[in-house]
Symmetry: C2
Subunit: 406 residues, 2 copies
């Protein structure tokens, strides 16, 4: 149960009436010196930060403070704060792109905002008007627009973060919070050799049987900080064994849930014409990814004849269904496992080339068919199409949203 609810009129209603987040109250303090933009080959994901950030603070007595855009800096955080001691952070991952007219665009920001609000509620953090968060994001992009990369496959990653800042060690919800939005210019999450013809180097994933990412009754369906760190140790072990990411499993039947920090899709050949495109259903253990949803939507529209997809493709029967490591093995043995890929904001679409798994103590691999440019035709079609929509080269529904209102 939430203590307050954003009612859209500038107030949060609930146990008391306090101020809602209000982008109209924004104050902007520009940095006196702007950083040079480093060459793009140095842009390891999420390490280069732009000049400014948005800050707003929630106090249970008064509500949300007037938001500020100010020079990006460290925050002063008490070591006894809720976000440090008990992991009460929620966040979003979004990207801004430059369209062919040189204007910045966002991709389906409404989905991120809705998920951001759900995540905050799940962590018992204060609510906020999501339209105001989006307005603040747009303002920050305008201030730091020189950081939006102009080349394809590069974008400005956006990280809205809400952290619990209650000072106190009692094990209870945080009634104080800080909203911090910052930006990071970014290229491909898994960089390819620039000199090669390979568009996107396929990644290898190791199916993890001991550590479980999420569980029924857990927080796997929300974008919360605590979903990630438990996977760092097995990820390091997997990388030592030569794999780039983990394929997360659930239960004794070894259901496939996610791949690294991405949703996962597999393309399985049908006996008749066409292919199946499977991704696990949103049962609370799977993050409801925006890219995941976009792939499913485009696949359904393609089958309904409402849109085309690039390339010469078969019929694609997209469906959310549970599948297991044993299913992958069987499909692979039958020659039906045509493609596998991850989908997420950071990676867009990442081709999976190899799936390692342990079979009675022995490490085995499912090797996916190789493709000249590193990615199978179906994954490539979704990747190209989504990127074209994101970069404003193609219109689809109202997914691509200009940052400037007109």
């Amino acid at each position: 149960m939430a203590l307050w609810k954003s009612v859209g009129n500038g107030t949060l209603e609930g146990i008391s009436r306090v101020a809602d987040l209000d982008a109209a109250k924004l104050t902007i303090t520009l940095s006196k010196t702007l950083k040079p933009i480093p060459p793009r080959h140095t842009w390891t994901f999420g390490t280069i930060m732009t000049d400014h950030m948005v800050i707003a603070e929630f106090d249970p007595e008064i509500g949300w403070s007037s938001p500020e855009i100010k020079p990006r800096d460290s925050l002063k955080i008490d070591p006894a704060s809720s976000c440090i001691q008990y992991g009460t952070t929620v966040f979003e991952g979004m990207k801004a792109y430059i369209d062919p007219n040189g204007k910045p665009r966002l991709f389906r920001p409404d989905m991120n905002m809705a998920r951001f609000a759900r995540s905050a509620e799940r962590m018992a953090l204060p609510p906020f008007n999501t339209d105001q968060v989006l307005a603040l994001i747009k303002q920050l992009i305008i201030v730091d627009h020189r950081w939006i990369p102009q080349f394809t496959d590069y974008s400005l990653y956006i990280r809205p973060t809400l952290m619990g800042t209650r000072l106190g060690l009692g094990v209870a919800a945080s009634d104080h919070a800080t909203l911090c939005i910052f930006l990071s210019p970014t290229g491909p999450y898994f960089p390819s050799d620039e000199s090669s013809k390979v568009k996107a180097k396929p990644i290898s994933v190791l199916a993890e049987s001991n550590v479980v990412r999420a569980w029924p009754g857990g927080t796997g369906g929300h974008k919360v900080a605590l979903n990630y760190s438990a996977g760092f140790l097995p990820l390091r072990t997997a990388q030592k064994e030569g794999y780039e990411q983990i394929l997360w499993l659930l239960g004794e039947e070894r259901r496939v849930t996610e791949a690294g920090a991405m949703n996962v899709f597999v393309v399985v050949g049908r006996d008749d014409e066409g292919v199946d495109l499977f991704t696990p259903p949103l049962d609370g253990t799977i993050l409801p990814g925006v890219t995941r949803d976009s792939v499913l939507d485009l696949a359904h529209a393609y089958m309904a004849g409402e849109t085309s997809l690039p390339g010469t493709l078969p019929l694609i029967h997209a469906r959310e269904r549970i599948f297991t490591v044993a299913d992958l093995q069987r499909w692979s043995a039958e020659g039906k496992l045509l493609e596998a890929f991850g989908a997420g904001t950071a990676v867009i679409i990442a081709s999976i080339g190899k799936i390692g798994f342990h079979d009675q103590g022995e490490l085995k691999n499912i090797v996916l068919p190789a493709h000249e440019n590193g990615i199978g035709p179906i994954a490539d079609a979704f990747r190209t199409r989504i990127l074209d929509i994101q970069e404003g080269k193609e219109e689809w529904k109202i997914w691509s949203v200009p940052v400037f209102e007109a």
Copy 2:
């Protein structure tokens, strides 16, 4: 797999040879003004902080910095730090007590230090020599010794915290970390009415069937930040329904795992003489609590005739075993459920008076037998005995450790 290992000679050996944590390198900068110690009725758990803190920082190129004791303050933390974005904090909870000779003492600190190291490893954080952490804790207590309360049931709570400080949004382990140790004077976690004869007001707990605290393959057996925040929302709901804490369950059979942030014990009458004392086994979903271990150890010693316990007690058959909500119902219906209590550093022993649970949508309660002073004879015996050991009034093994070496 850990990248380095503390080998006890001042270095961490591993992928490189870097400096281990070294208390001999400690520098101390005292606060110019000392805070007044607020009256003890204002000491809500973990909200009043002492004057100083320990800080040491880990850099993968050089290892651990020279530790510092300095005035307690906020930390400068980048919002893109691992501990904020991905919840890479581990911590410990310990207490310092004043013995009858006026000397500060710690309770079984070796157990906390071993668990602290295991938690750090589980979160893929850098390792450290635990003897050095303990030496730093003792130094900090000496500096802030005026804050150790002199009255029974009050103590100086110690919170060693290790947080991942890698700057970067890539989903991977933090190779930078900050160790921060700070102190907070504390009284009873669940305060009683001071004017009443009740020693310890029994708490009520609500069995939670929808949200799961920990699961097989998760981190429930480690003391990590991320174990706590997912419980804040159901805790708020439970408190709205009149319960103080949650009784965490696991699986369709509704196994009892923990109570709030405590381990849980039940006392069940036997048909023959004596009682059973049950607590769930350490299967990876249960925190290996120091107080939990102390209760089991004292119970076994009592049965072996190696020690006595205060009061006139029956034979106590202590055993780790799985039990469910249905078991509690059955024992209660048969009149055998004599006591239930939580055990943890913050609460020591907290008597449980009522256990709520949902039975086909209906909220029912298991009401435990009432006791004049608020706590049953067996819980009270362990509480008194453990507190006496903690406060240095009774010796048992080498559990109580003086802060001054002699």
